[in-house]
């Protein structure tokens, strides 16, 4: 109950911010919410189930290119393109999971990373269709869904909030479900859950697909809402990004990805306004965080007795 009210309060706060934030922060928050969905997908795999993937950029870009290419080459409108893009993320995750989940731990990390790298190179190889490294701007006609122009500031924020709310509530329901408990059991002790009659591979594959669904949705919405689709979103830094968000905010906490995304975004933004050495500032901040809040901010709060608020 406490958890539910906290989550609803966060959503209400985000809605309230829509009316008061100045233009710059308003647009930033729209971006952050979509990125937080990406990180939430990552959190499902990594935070709850313990699958350390470094290939999530592949699922993000599958969603982004899935939606973008359909708009660009087949003239689809935003709604079907977004749906197909989202599913493309899940499909890509299923394919990757089928192979990669035979490994675990650091091997899993490397295998997913290599699949993602192969995906990135494939985007470049088919540069005639995908625009290669340059990518392409999404045509204006393809950025309208049900009469809502996603290129306009207001609808964009609200659609981002809608997506975020759906993802957050889905995440909350998931971790409270039976399957959610099996996920955590898998993280804590795979052998024991196997003995209890669960098929670890099937559970992990399910988790991976769900995670890919989140990442694909984030990619598709990001591309359509901000009007650009490009292969840089398939590069390694975009696989590390959700890991950082999740670890910063708190792995295995539903609200962790949002907090992590907000902090990381503004850390970089403020650092680059006030200094020319923003890389060092960002690196230093990461070190401070990991030294003083190794479980992430919300993870540390949860350990101090806020567990009933932060599932």
């Amino acid at each position: 109950m406490r958890a539910l009210s906290l989550h609803l309060a966060v959503l209400a706060l985000l809605l309230a911010l829509h009316f008061v934030l100045p233009a710059y922060h308003h647009a930033n928050l729209a971006r952050i919410m979509v990125l937080a969905v990406f990180a939430m997908g990552y959190n499902i795999a990594f935070g709850y189930t313990g699958l350390l993937s470094l290939g999530h950029a592949l699922f993000l870009s599958a969603g982004m290119f899935g939606a973008g290419l359909l708009i660009q080459h087949f003239g689809l409108t935003a709604a079907p393109a977004l749906l197909i893009g989202t599913l493309a993320g899940a499909a890509m995750a299923a394919l990757t999971g089928l192979l990669a989940l035979r490994t675990a731990g650091v091997s899993l990390m490397i295998v997913t990373l290599m699949f993602a790298q192969a995906g990135y190179l494939t985007l470049l190889y088919f540069g005639a269709v995908t625009g290669g490294d340059e990518g392409f701007p999404v045509p204006a006609a393809g950025r309208v869904a049900f009469g809502l122009n996603l290129a306009a500031e207001g609808p964009r924020y609200l659609v981002a909030l809608g997506l975020f709310a759906l993802a957050l509530m889905g995440n909350l329901a998931l971790v409270r479900s039976r399957f959610g408990r099996v996920m955590v059991a898998m993280r804590e002790n795979e052998e024991r859950s196997r003995m209890l009659g669960y098929n670890p591979f099937a559970v992990k594959l399910g988790v991976m697909v769900l995670s890919g669904l989140y990442a694909g949705a984030a990619g598709a919405f990001y591309g359509v809402m901000f009007g650009y689709v490009g292969a840089t979103f398939a590069t390694i830094p975009y696989s590390i990004l959700p890991l950082l968000y999740v670890l910063l905010g708190g792995a295995g906490v539903t609200l962790g990805p949002l907090l992590g995304a907000v902090l990381m975004f503004y850390l970089i933004d403020l650092a680059s306004s006030h200094t020319t050495a923003q890389l060092a500032v960002t690196g230093g901040a990461l070190l401070v965080l990991v030294l003083f809040a190794p479980k992430g901010i919300l993870g540390s709060l949860r350990e101090r007795g806020l567990a009933s608020w932060l599932p």
Partner: protein
């Protein structure tokens, strides 16, 4: 716990609310301030590749722009108002690039934005510039502006695009170096522009591209690709960008050594910000390069050339006056300088007062047709095409003689012209 958390929440909300109100006040106030006092500075935003793969260019783009800004203000600014520039790093990343466009426009309140070089950043950021209706003047040399891919708010008045550069090289290469060409280029869009337009131009000249070797951009060593160069190659055409350029050229030298080799023609991009006298590059002696602006001061350089070099802090060899090992990106960075003076002309022609005049400013630039050479257009005279938003200028071919790039040919502006692919003036704002 409950009270704690509730306290925290209200706290955060108040803080954010306060921030929001403050921000709104600042934003709302800025334009009014400008309108009230026309002597307030004009504020330009510069999207800078300070970090990431474009950093070598970014550093010199910043220095050139600072120098041009100083000159501009010494000459009395624009419309009698001083000019300031806000530099913001985009990490040479399209996602951050779009955010920087937003930040400069809606937070810093800049009148317009200039400066990006790397084409993926330009293409990633231009849609946001179009949505925010802010003029976006790129210094990118990509063919993405004139190809019609972008929008009415995006212009390239400071540097000739790759398509024009490449096409204008072909006749001289065919006549002086050889007809059978092998091309080595990075396997991404910038390289593909080279591949497509040079191959086309070579064909038009009766030559032939016998092999195209596309190098994956993640590569840091190139030795294994070089044996793919056919033995009957007469001209090796190379262009490379990014952090590994020096390795590429060194490995090329190692591959040919002192043995027989074809004529070598490269784009200076392969060696921007790199000292041509660096160890391992001796083999470049006698090879040819495209240059957008001659790095080494030529004997017949116009009188403003020295003023420009002194202002930017570059010596006669194209290196920093304070450190001879710090070589500039000379063939590209003039574009920032020239773009700034085009902005001055555009703002004066449109009677630019405030952000409300942004559309008039774009229309004023579109109406321009030619720029005369001079201290404001240091690279040379140019023709501007208002429909495609693209400028065209002279290109140079230099030969390495005694470790220095000496100009052996200058194209005419017409050599690089091609039919319009777009008419931006027909698009709505």
């Amino acid at each position: 716990m409950t009270t704690d958390l509730a306290g925290l929440k209200t706290n955060r909300r108040t803080v954010l609310g306060g921030l929001a109100a403050g921000g709104a006040l600042m934003l709302g106030a800025a334009p009014r301030f400008v309108q009230a006092q026309s002597s307030a500075p004009i504020k330009l935003g510069f999207q800078l590749h300070r970090t990431g793969i474009g950093a070598a260019y970014g550093r010199w783009y910043e220095r050139t722009t600072q120098a041009a800004l100083k000159l501009l203000n010494d000459q009395g600014g624009i419309n009698g108002r001083p000019v300031e520039i806000v530099f913001e790093d985009d990490g040479t990343d399209p996602k951050r690039g779009a955010e920087v466009v937003e930040k400069l426009t809606t937070q810093a309140g800049c009148d317009l934005i200039l400066g990006p070089l790397f084409s993926h950043v330009v293409i990633g950021s231009a849609p946001r510039a179009g949505e925010l209706k802010v003029p976006y003047l790129v210094c990118s040399e990509g063919y993405h502006v004139a190809s019609g891919m972008l929008n009415r708010w995006t212009l390239q008045p400071g540097i000739t695009d790759v398509r024009a550069q490449v096409s204008s090289m072909a006749p001289w290469v065919m006549q002086n170096l050889g007809k059978k060409v092998t091309m080595v280029f990075p396997d991404y869009a910038f390289g593909h522009d080279h591949r497509d337009f040079f191959t086309e131009a070579v064909k038009a000249q009766g030559g032939e591209v016998i092999a195209q070797i596309a190098i994956p951009p993640t590569e840091t060593s190139f030795t294994r690709y070089l044996p793919q160069i056919p033995a009957e190659t007469e001209v090796l055409y190379h262009v490379m960008v990014g952090p590994a350029v020096l390795t590429f050229v060194k490995e090329l030298g190692e591959f040919y050594g002192s043995g027989a080799r074809p004529q070598i023609f490269g784009f200076i991009d392969s060696l921007e910000a790199v000292d041509i006298a660096a160890p391992g590059l001796e083999f470049l002696e006698g090879t040819h390069f495209w240059e957008g602006h001659c790095r080494v001061k030529q004997a017949d350089a116009p009188e403003w050339e020295s003023t420009y070099r002194a202002a930017v802090g570059v010596d006669d060899n194209g290196a920093s006056v304070s450190d001879a090992r710090d070589v500039s990106t000379y063939a590209h960075m003039f574009s920032c300088w020239e773009t700034l003076f085009v902005i001055k002309k555009g703002m004066e022609a449109s009677g630019y007062q405030s952000t409300a005049d942004r559309q008039k400013f774009v229309e004023a630039i579109e109406a321009m047709t030619a720029f005369d050479a001079g201290l404001d257009h240091v690279q040379g005279a140019k023709t501007f095409n208002g429909k495609t938003h693209q400028v065209f200028g002279q290109q140079f071919i230099s030969k390495v003689e005694g470790g220095k790039l000496m100009r052996v040919h200058a194209t005419s502006i017409e050599d690089g012209m091609y039919p319009d692919a777009v008419d931006y003036t027909a698009q709505s704002f």
